[in-house]
């Protein structure tokens, strides 16, 4: 692949100011997304998945600050873009859908009006034209009886339906990149399957790249070609999904896989991951933040900064942030 990636995040570090001192929420996070590609960012709560998405979108909490790094979208440096440039791009070039769809929608405006707002902002569509496009979008996300639903308020819709509206909003201006932050957490399995299938189908038909943020490795495996595993603000492993599952190289990925329930596994077969996330306020955080939970850790892991080991593979390169990676049989 020689074409530059659509989204390239390089050495991104984000720190949050808190009363208890600065929290190093992200440290040297790097990954890339090609045009039309679907990747997943997987990790436990507190691993920095959502902060990564917020930093890319330019919607970090005011307490958070990008200390260093680059975020290139289609060749443009998003971290240097002005607020108005970013506002022009958000929703048109890249869009995001959030967890808790009911909370993300405006409760006192009809869903039709909310979709029309996006169209008015980016495509200067008004009145009947905007309404028609809004209805098309609702039909696209398979909402039954879209004409009637245009005048519905979020509280009149079910959780799955609100998430469909969120997708319609995000896709109204045909963005090239969609970031979906836990889009199906809190939804039923049948709804989850329908929403994920819908995102996949629309992504394929529109050549849209998708970043799926999830804590569910099973869901990531099913829908994404490549998986980025995060732990305590580090990207610990980045690999094609099939290889990651067949032969994880970072001990954390291996432990995460061993803890995930899967068909054919019994409770005795599953293993818990000992310990918890390190305190990210510590000044002397070791280069490996998994150190204290790892049974392979040694002195080299304490180095102040580690560099990811990059290995080429037929389906794209693999990166692992570990000085003693597991050497399983690579597929």
């Amino acid at each position: 692949m020689t074409a530059p990636p659509l989204l390239a995040v390089g050495d991104l570090s984000v720190t949050f100011r808190t009363r208890a001192g600065p929290v190093k929420a992200l440290e040297r996070v790097s990954f890339a997304v090609d045009k039309g590609e679907t990747i997943a960012i997987v990790g436990e709560s507190g691993s920095g998945k959502s902060v990564t998405a917020q930093a890319i979108m330019g919607i970090l909490d005011p307490a958070g600050r990008v200390e260093a790094g680059r975020v290139y979208f289609a060749g443009l440096d998003l971290l240097r873009a002005s607020a108005s440039e970013l506002a022009d791009m958000r929703g048109r070039e890249f869009a995001m859908i959030f967890q808790n769809p009911r909370g993300a929608l405006n409760p006192i405006r009809t869903v039709g009006d909310q979709i029309a707002d996006v169209l008015a902002r980016h495509e200067h569509l008004k009145g009947a034209a905007a309404r028609d496009r809004a209805m098309e979008m609702l039909a696209l996300v398979k909402i039954t009886d879209p004409r009637r639903r245009l005048d519905a308020y979020p509280f009149e819709l079910s959780g799955g339906m609100c998430q469909r509206v969120m997708i319609a909003l995000a896709l109204a201006c045909r963005p090239a990149l969609l970031i979906a932050d836990e889009p199906t957490t809190g939804l039923d399995v049948t709804t989850q399957a329908a929403i994920m299938d819908l995102i996949g189908e629309l992504g394929r038909s529109r050549g849209m790249a998708t970043v799926l943020i999830t804590h569910d490795l099973g869901l990531a495996a099913e829908h994404c070609g490549r998986i980025v595993v995060m732990h305590a603000g580090h990207v610990v492993e980045d690999a094609p999904a099939a290889q990651l599952f067949a032969a994880p190289r970072h001990p954390y990925t291996a432990k995460l896989l061993a803890a995930t329930p899967r068909p054919g596994r019994h409770l005795e077969d599953l293993e818990a991951i000992p310990g918890g996330l390190p305190d990210l306020r510590r000044a002397d955080l070791p280069g490996c933040r998994f150190l204290e939970r790892c049974d392979r850790a040694g002195e080299p892991c304490r180095a102040p900064a580690l560099d990811a080991i990059v290995t080429p593979s037929p389906d794209g390169e693999r990166r692992v942030l570990c000085v003693r990676p597991l050497m399983g049989l690579a597929a």
Binding site: E44, V189, A193, A221, P261
Partner: protein, 331 residues
Amino acid sequence: MTALLDVAGLCRRFTVGQPGPIERLRGKRPGVLHAVDAVDLRIGEGEVLGLVGESGCGKSTLARVVARLIDPSEGSIRFAGEDIGQIAARRFARHPLRRSIQMVFQDPTESLNPRWTAFDCIADPIRRMDPGAAAKVADRVHELAALVSLPETLLQRFPHQLSGGQKARVGIARAVALRPRLLVLDEPTSALDVSVQVVVLKLLDELKRRLGMSYLFVTHDLEVVRLICDRVAVMYLGRMAEVGTVGQIFERPSHPYTRALLSAVPSGVPGRTPQRIQLSGDPRSPIDPDPRICRFLGRCPNGTERCGTEMPQLRPMGEGHVAACHLADAA
């Protein structure tokens, strides 16, 4: 297996949409929401029954009626031979059998008093039901903390100073403090990360054996059901759709809703999407439902005319396996 809990013909209805004075003059009646409708349920001594279904299907209401937090509208709840359905929930709070049925709630953060230490949370049921000397209470709390592997140093902490897994342990210790015979668990692991979920599931499995408890395990996660349950009850819009052993439900599902539910579970294998059974349309309204129409009609992929004129009843599909569908064939 002798039944510890035998629920028969259980209904719980809620009145919704009280009409205003003018509407009442015009003859408008309040709607009746059938949250739980004619449910039969048996849980044997030492058995774990999984209760699954989508949000709004009445599984939490059923759990709360069984745990005697709310009253049934109709039907009987026989627990250890006594019909506890006749005892009003307010009186049951001081009934000798209260200690025998305890509950673990979904969100460990929401269900612990934020102003109480972990010690007080666990001591509360003991102080209420077994008042005694403070030293004796303290001994029991420490014993319980050891039982759920909660370090004693954490007992003086408040919920906000504990991690999700630790809070889950407090919730479980509190629930088993009075040595219940039946534990009702409402989505006990859905707020937890996979690494912590494994620990909590293993703990629950071990406690069941050590303390000889039975569980009513409410969840929407079918993988969890497979790991910990002996039998499964699938609920759809207030009614039982199918009940059977884990093997029967997962290997030979008879009800079309069960099949759709199972087909929506992610395969957990990269690149493999299971053959999905899409459910079209929205669920029927649970308010004043027509007693002659199958609740699943409209979303069912193979509904027939008979489904619109005659409510299907649970029919035997195999040894201890029942399904409520006209079209299901016995194995």
